[in-house]
């Protein structure tokens, strides 16, 4: 199967998966359940049984790229945590989103273009998953945005919105840390982030947010991305600070300019 690398815009690395995302988006806006089912069926089975060859390949890649910080067997060192039991989901999230291998230390490890092919990421994830029981990579059926967007919105506002903003525009935390914007983030990354709690994000395990809850949240995020805000231009959806700044600079500036013109004598 031909793979292509993830591009800077955050598009999926698998051509087939890109079709899934487009198809799922169309299905939600069109409201056709049948279309969504078809989209799920056309995708490759991501969660196929992990073969020993894949695990071995993953171990090789791990030794070359990860072991200097995480230890030769993923046991962790002073520089990085143990990976035993973090699960394949955590490894796929970190490596596929480009956060790992980390480019530089800092308040927060930043997202960047992944340096591995899809096959290599699958292999690394398989190896890390084999280290100990942990969250598995979600299936395409779990990721399809065909849940209940209303319920997803409620769950998102209760569990996620305080950091990620009510429509997933992201927000600031302390000392340079931040909750990233969720626009354009692929569904598998959102699901895996909830499951594994990367960096300072808390863990939302399946007892807290069930797979149905997670599907609904993904459906909600897909919906708000596909539908423009009814209230006017969003200005980045960042709320009163941005809106206030806009009004102070442009609206008040305009009023002041108009007042000066009104009071000036004609030449």
């Amino acid at each position: 199967m031909a793979f292509m690398k993830r591009n800077v815009n955050g598009a999926r690395r698998h051509p087939m998966a890109a079709i899934l995302v487009i198809a799922a988006g169309l299905a939600v806006s069109g409201g056709g359940y049948a279309a969504a089912t078809a989209a799920v069926e056309t995708t490759k089975p991501v969660n196929a049984a992990l073969s020993q060859a894949q695990v071995d390949e993953g171990h090789k890649l791990f030794l070359a790229n990860c072991a200097s910080c995480h230890g030769r067997n993923g046991e962790g060192t002073q520089n990085a945590p143990s990976l035993i039991g973090v699960g394949a989901a955590a490894a796929e999230f970190q490596v596929d989103s480009g956060r790992m291998p980390a480019q530089a230390s800092g308040p927060q490890i930043m997202k960047k273009t992944s340096q591995f092919t899809g096959e290599q990421i699958d292999a690394i994830a398989a190896y890390v998953g084999s280290l100990g029981p942990g969250p598995a990579i979600p299936t395409d059926a779990q990721l399809a945005a065909n849940g209940n967007a209303t319920r997803g919105g409620e769950l998102f506002r209760i569990n996620c919105a305080m950091c990620h903003n009510a429509v997933g525009a992201g927000g600031a935390l302390t000392q340079g840390k931040f909750a990233p914007a969720l626009t354009g983030v692929p569904a598998d990354h959102i699901y895996e982030a909830m499951l594994t709690g990367p960096q300072n994000m808390p863990v939302f395990n399946d007892a807290n947010l069930t797979p149905t809850d997670k599907k609904d949240i993904i459906t909600y995020l897909t919906y708000v991305q596909d539908h423009p805000s009814a209230g006017g231009y969003e200005l980045g959806n960042l709320g009163p600070v941005v809106e206030g700044l806009f009004v102070w600079i442009f609206a008040l500036g305009f009023i002041i300019a108009l007042t000066i013109w009104l009071g000036a004598k004609s030449n």
Partner: protein, 348 residues
């Protein structure tokens, strides 16, 4: 005596600070000299016919902008129709609004430009009147008051005057009772929440109970008391007081005072979600620093250290809910909060 005289005479000999001669208005003695009118500047539109015609065209153009704006508003109404999709409201209101704004703005700006460039530009100055009335007007006013008094007999008829005073004094008294009923006295409701010994901790919004084993390390649960959804009324008020954040930490990270040792369960701690500053929901939890942030004013609480304030305007730690586990493994409250939740109020 001679001292006081000299002071008095000394004062009298000084320049008066203010000049009251012209009336009650205080006029500083060292007032700035009136610079008078600026020299009149002849406008270009008065000097050249070319400029005058240009200005006239500009005014007409601005009125034309108004015409186009109004037509565009009507066009926009049809071009950006409202459909079942809520998103269509945006373009409909935006473009119709822009058209209407241009329609009104063109008229206004055109009128001002017209007045500034083409209407007569003679400059006029008007003196302010004195505040004090003339002697004749003042005398006449006193005359009218006296006449009214004698005709009504207000000074003469003591009975009427005093009964009127009584009526006026009593008139505002009912307001005390009226306003006294505004908003029921909250009594001690601010000191108590729904939590009782044995109340199960349940998930917001589903109301499903939480097993201690479900709360894995690094997890955050947004918690409401069991039975909140079944309340007949005041659901939101109760939720606003009882909302709790449930977090599991490595027990080795927890710094607990001796009297709170049994308030947590195997590293699971529950704290009120209501900020002690002005009551926003404190829910931004950083899993690795164990800091809990309030989104409104960035108060930061340290979950490892009984939610003490480490930054921001909050002045008190978040109240902790003592928790335990029942025979089925579900998390329950040991009691209500031991202190009032949320911001300060009177008598607290």
């Amino acid at each position: 005596m001679s001292d006081s005289k000299s002071i008095a005479s000394g004062k009298g000999s000084q320049e008066p600070e203010h000049d009251y001669a012209t009336g009650l208005a205080v006029i500083a003695a060292d007032k700035v000299v009136d610079p008078g009118m600026e020299p009149h500047r002849v406008r270009m539109t008065d000097k050249s016919v070319k400029h005058e015609k240009a200005a006239a065209r500009q005014v007409a153009a601005l009125f034309l902008v108004s015409v186009l704006g109004s037509i565009f508003a009507i066009y926009a109404y049809f071009a950006f129709p409202l459909t079942d999709d809520l998103g269509t409201v945006r373009d409909n209101t935006l473009f119709m609004g822009l058209g209407i704004v241009l329609g009104l703005f063109g008229i206004g700006i055109g009128a001002v430009h017209w007045a500034k460039t083409l209407m007569p530009d003679a400059e006029v100055s008007e003196e302010r009147h004195q505040t004090r009335g003339s002697e004749a007007v003042r005398a006449r006013a006193i005359e009218i008051i006296k006449l009214a008094d004698s005709e009504s007999g207000f000074s003469r008829r003591k009975l009427i005057r005093r009964s009127l005073y009584g009526a006026l004094a009593l008139f505002p008294i009912p307001a005390i009772f009226f306003f006294g009923d505004l908003g029921p006295n909250p009594k001690d409701t601010l000191r108590h929440t729904m939590w009782k010994a044995g109340t199960r901790l349940t998930k917001d919004p589903t109301g499903l109970p939480i097993k201690a084993s479900d709360v894995t390390l690094g997890s955050v649960f947004h918690v409401i008391p069991e039975g909140l959804a079944e309340l007949p009324h005041h659901k939101l008020e109760e939720k606003a007081k009882a909302a709790v954040l449930l977090v599991r930490l490595d027990p080795a990270d927890l710094k607990e005072s001796p009297e709170r040792k049994n308030w947590s369960y195997d590293g699971i701690v529950a704290y009120s979600k209501i900020c002690t500053h002005v009551g926003c929901p404190v829910a931004l939890y950083e899993q690795r620093t164990h800091h809990l942030l309030c989104p409104c004013h960035q108060s930061t609480f340290d979950v490892t250290d009984e939610c003490k304030v480490i930054f921001g305007p909050a002045s008190r730690p978040l109240p902790q809910l003592p928790i335990a586990v029942d025979s089925e493994g579900y998390l329950i409250a040991q009691s209500d909060f031991t202190e009032p939740v949320g911001p300060s109020f009177w008598e607290r």
